[in-house]
């Protein structure tokens, strides 16, 4: 196996010619990478994640996951090795109970019932949600749904986990729980998020995007402490760093008056 598990070279994407959503995206990710994918709304973070799992195929450039080039033909093999946690857990939990949901992927990959049982057990243990096993999705809280959604993809035993805004709509305790879980998973992770504090705690590397391009790619601390860089791209310092300068934080953006 090569050192680079995910290779993205010169990937561009657009729905129609006039407006390019992604422009010449290139990066690689190795086995010990946990990447925070950050950037303002609409810079193409989700699109990039969707391209990596082959949900958008009309891109130019090349993507390969674990030495398999992503094409229409290789999709089943690629998807077996990559788990995608959607922003809306409601869509990800479509079976009657959590158990059934976690078992969905193993069953589709043709495992027998003992192996399925084993996979489900393992996924439940990893996230420590055995108590949710027989619960119906609509009776669960947002936090529980998110954890269950993560379990559903862990049952596929993926090498790579992609997450779209995992901490959105979680209360502080569930968010903390999620951070701990993420830190315990030794998969390659790419996490698209506006929650920079979470990124700071869970990722060793950050890719900053703006207008469909990669603006910066480097160590988490380096990028997340660079106030000018962040603010130039529609972000702010992580909250936990905002107090570090000693004085209370003031945005360097000129103060604007809003007339109503």
């Amino acid at each position: 196996m090569s050192h680079h598990h995910i290779i993205c070279s010169n990937v561009s994407f657009s729905y129609d010619k006039s407006f390019e959503i992604l422009h010449e995206i290139s990066f690689t990710a190795g086995h010990d990478d946990a990447i925070g994918l950050i950037g303002a709304n609409g810079v193409g973070k989700s699109t990039l994640l969707r391209i990596l799992v082959g949900l958008e195929m009309e891109f130019t450039g090349e993507v390969s996951i674990g030495e398999i080039k992503v094409t229409k033909k290789t999709l089943p093999r690629v998807r077996e090795k990559i788990g995608y946690v959607f922003q809306d857990s409601e869509n990800q939990l479509f079976m009657p109970t959590v158990y059934e949901d976690i078992a969905f992927a193993p069953r589709n990959y043709g495992l027998d019932s003992d192996q399925v049982e084993e996979r489900v057990r393992h996924a439940l243990d990893l996230i420590d949600i055995d108590y949710l096993k027989n619960k119906q999705p609509y009776k669960m809280s947002g936090g529980e749904k998110k954890l269950a959604a993560i379990a559903t993809i862990l049952a596929m035993t993926p090498d790579v986990i992609l997450m779209d805004e995992p901490t959105i709509a979680l209360d502080p305790r569930n968010r903390r729980r999620l951070i701990n879980i993420l830190n315990n998973l030794d998969h390659i992770k790419i996490i698209a998020s506006h929650d920079l504090d979470m990124v700071l705690e869970t990722c060793n590397r950050v890719i900053l995007m703006s207008e469909g391009k990669i603006i910066a790619d480097g160590e988490t601390r380096e990028i997340l402490t660079n106030r000018e860089l962040l603010e130039a791209n529609g972000l702010e310092l992580p909250f936990c760093l905002q107090g570090e300068t000693g004085v209370s934080y003031k945005p360097s953006v000129p103060h604007t008056h809003i007339h109503l």
Partner: protein
Amino acid sequence: MGKLSDAIYEVHYMDTIAGIDSPIHRVHPLVKLIVTVAYIWFTVSFNKYDVTGLITMVVYPVALFSLSGISFGHSIKKLRVILPFVILMGILNPFFNREPLFLLYGITITEGMVSGLTLLIKGILTVLGGYLLISTTRIEAICYALNLLRVPEILVTQILLTYRYITVLLSEANHIFEAYSLRAPSQKGIHYKVWGSLIGQLLFRSIDRATGLYDAMVLRGYNGNFRHSQLPKARWQDSAYLLVWMAAFAVLRYTSLTALIGSLFVR
């Protein structure tokens, strides 16, 4: 809207009581389905003038309510849905059939009165029969039972998915409606000018949700076949349950038990 939030509550409530544990809840779903259908079948097959025979069928709901621990109170709510029409039809019967049957303490009882009464009793018993199935069996379990009965897979999946997303869409519809009524406080329903766009928005959200759902499914290896777990095998208790009720229904239906009992007291 009360109606939407009521419906959400109702789905949750039914699911909760279907999830408790009791001897009836433990019976195999297929067996319960068959017994329920048989019960309703036998109940409606009683002749429209056979009040005394029909009344014996009350044994089944009484037995199931007490064995399952399901409260009778909530089932009255269910009767509310379909009973008005049945009552209306029942009340009309005495007017359209005035053929006298017998005298009771000086009052002429007509065929219409008797048939109206049986109609009402049938209405109550059949609704209770259905209620006792769904309050002791989860919808998923009923779907798996349908699967065993060779109902096409695509239809079973359809029921499961519709059921899964009913609460999601009911609450989305509720949000839309609440947002609407907060800004249009004096209206009872939706103004005709926004009929299309309001439901249309809900429709688009649903379609986007379906797309998201499909994405989530294909990413986990879905290719058109929906696999779910199978039901456990029936136990001997299940067969016994089936046999006992079938025998009981047959006895209640084809022997005049009330007349027999009555003859013990009346010479």
